[in-house]
Amino acid sequence: MPLYSLDPEWEDVVPLPQDDGVQPLAQIAYTEEYTEAMSYLRAVMAKDEMSERVLKVTEDVIEMNPAHYTVWLYRAKTLFALGKDLVEEKNFLNDMALRHQKNYQIWHHRQLIMDRIDDSTGETEFTVTMFEKDCKNYHVWSYRQWLVRRFDLWDKGEIEYIDTLLEQDVRNNSAWNHRFFVVFGREETVPKDIVDREIRVCEDAIFIAPQNLSPWSYVRGVLKKANLPLSTFEKTASFYAPLDNPDKIRSSHALDILADIYAEKGEQKERALIALDFLAKKYDPIRANYWNYRAGLIKASS
């Protein structure tokens, strides 16, 4: 840790202490290192200085407190003003991101940098490294979607990567969401063989974990996008929730979709009510009010 007051590079700078004024709610006692770095940063910011040493002090402050959004902004401004090699900045960001998993200011900063670099080499690979630590990191997923759109990576291994993730954990809802984005996120209509493949992927996932919500939600989305009726999935749903053999019911989500399928068909409303009754009384009683509401809608429509 540099001691700025002893560093000749900083001797022309008069540090600017935090001005807390008269606000009893905001008086702050800092640790010494942080206080010093911040007071030098404040001093250079006050002069709007853009220099190498600004990069250094922002790096120190970010290291101690990566959530300090003002410092990130000033760092980006300085990097651009100095025309710095942004690939080097990327290496710094990789290291920071891995050590500060929860920080999100960093991902916005990275987006600004990558937009300027205009070359996505190594980027999806880096998100994979992040996902190895937390495969549901919301801001990293959102960054990955930005990458796909910005650099046209739709057909560059996204589906294959999702397949691997779902093989590792079929309950990873973030991966399911990204899958939907990659398959249906472009303007064009999706060909029938892809729709069939997606339905199959859901069936396989449900076979592994029938009580996993994600593929049940996903298949509803697929059918809707493809303009297919929910009953396309009736056979699969009945397999996991045979109404005539209640002991064999293995998924509340199967009951849920069956209730919709039967209600849609009109003449089988009774069966829809049976499915909802199972849900309210036995398979998902914590949400009994919701299931009873659905039953009420069906009764009111007949």
Binding site: D20, Q23, Y34, N65, H68, Y69, T70, Y138, N289
Partner: protein, 325 residues
């Protein structure tokens, strides 16, 4: 039912004590969200029926010291303006009945300047990070200032952006195609309600599907999570619950179990509420725990407004004040 009770007095002294712990590094390291911290503490105190537990004049002075010449507010003096803290500032001033102490025109022009005229979304600050949360911050701020109809803001465009973030599972994400997330749902539904277009823009079926997604978040231990397959958390409990309240489906979750869950996250000795049982309490989870209990009709608390996360009598009087003019 629950054998535990809400420790009102302990929570009040916990919140009051936050300001005096300045010798600790974590106090300092959170200066980047200080203004929001004041809003959380103040709102919790109001809901706990101790509205004067923080000094009013000093609170107003602090808020004013965070304002920039461009009209926006930073988290603390010396921090850049950001829409998150601008909303916190306006919420605090509305709560202590001091909206007149800052220039409205300034704040409105700051907020208006953050809207992307092409997409309708709002950026958080001058660097343009876009997120549905910021639309909520913008509309909430403007409505508390009575400036929702200001021609500098394109509300219909902001709403159309929000609708692009609606997912096939019924929820909303931070951007088009981003995963549904309880926090983002709160901001999207809140924005629709503030703009007065929830029922115009969402069909009954869409509202039901959203309600389905939301009440699906309740876990057997009574707590709610923010996304499928994640852990329960007091703050997510609030975002899910307030969203359910806004679409009038609050009764779709098991009330008693959630009350019990929130109470179990209290620090029984020092006061304060944690994200989940056994973790360290903080002011963020304290306000959302108390607000959640208020929304569930827990005895002895002031009624909370699910749209603004502020005392309902305050939002009502502020908003009604604009209607009269």
């Amino acid at each position: 039912m629950a054998n535990s009770l809400l420790h009102i007095d302990k929570h009040v002294s916990y919140i009051q004590s936050l300001d005096t712990r300045k010798d600790r590094l974590d106090y300092h390291l959170t200066s980047h969200l200080r203004l929001s911290g004041v809003y959380w503490g103040l709102t919790a105190l109001h809901l706990l029926n101790h509205p004067t537990a923080l000094p009013r004049d000093a609170t107003i002075e602090f808020v004013k010291s965070c304002q920039h010449p461009n009209g926006g507010f930073g988290a603390s003096p010396g921090h850049d303006a950001h829409i998150l803290y601008t909303l916190s500032a306006i919420q605090i001033l509305a709560t202590v009945d001091a909206l007149g102490s800052v220039s409205k025109t300034n704040v409105v022009s700051y907020v208006a300047g953050l809207q992307d005229k092409d997409t309708g979304c709002f950026a958080g600050d001058e660097w343009g990070e876009m997120d549905t949360r910021f639309i909520y911050c913008a509309l909430s701020t403007l409505s508390l200032l009575g400036e929702l109809k200001n021609p500098a803001i394109d509300v219909p465009k902001a709403i159309s952006y929000i609708l692009q973030c609606l997912n096939p599972d019924g929820g909303f994400g931070m951007a088009p195609s981003a995963e549904s997330h309880a926090g983002q749902i709160f901001t999207c539904v809140g924005a629709l309600v503030i703009a007065g277009v929830l029922k115009e823009e969402m069909s009954p079926d869409q509202i039901d599907l959203l309600g389905d997604w939301l009440c699906e978040r309740q876990l057997p231990n009574g707590g709610l999570n923010g996304r499928p397959e994640k852990l329960e958390d007091v703050c997510y409990s609030w975002w899910v619950l307030s969203s359910l309240a806004m679409i009038e489906k609050l009764h779709w979750i098991d009330r008693d179990k959630l009350v019990e869950f929130i109470l179990s996250c209290q620090d029984d000795e020092q006061g304060g509420i944690a994200d989940r049982k056994g973790d360290m309490a903080d002011v963020f989870h304290t306000v959302f725990g108390v607000a959640g209990l208020s929304l569930l009709g827990y005895e002895g608390l002031k009624e909370v407004d699910p749209v603004y996360c502020m005392p309902k009598e305050i939002t009502e009087s502020v908003l009604n004040g604009y209607k009269l003019v």
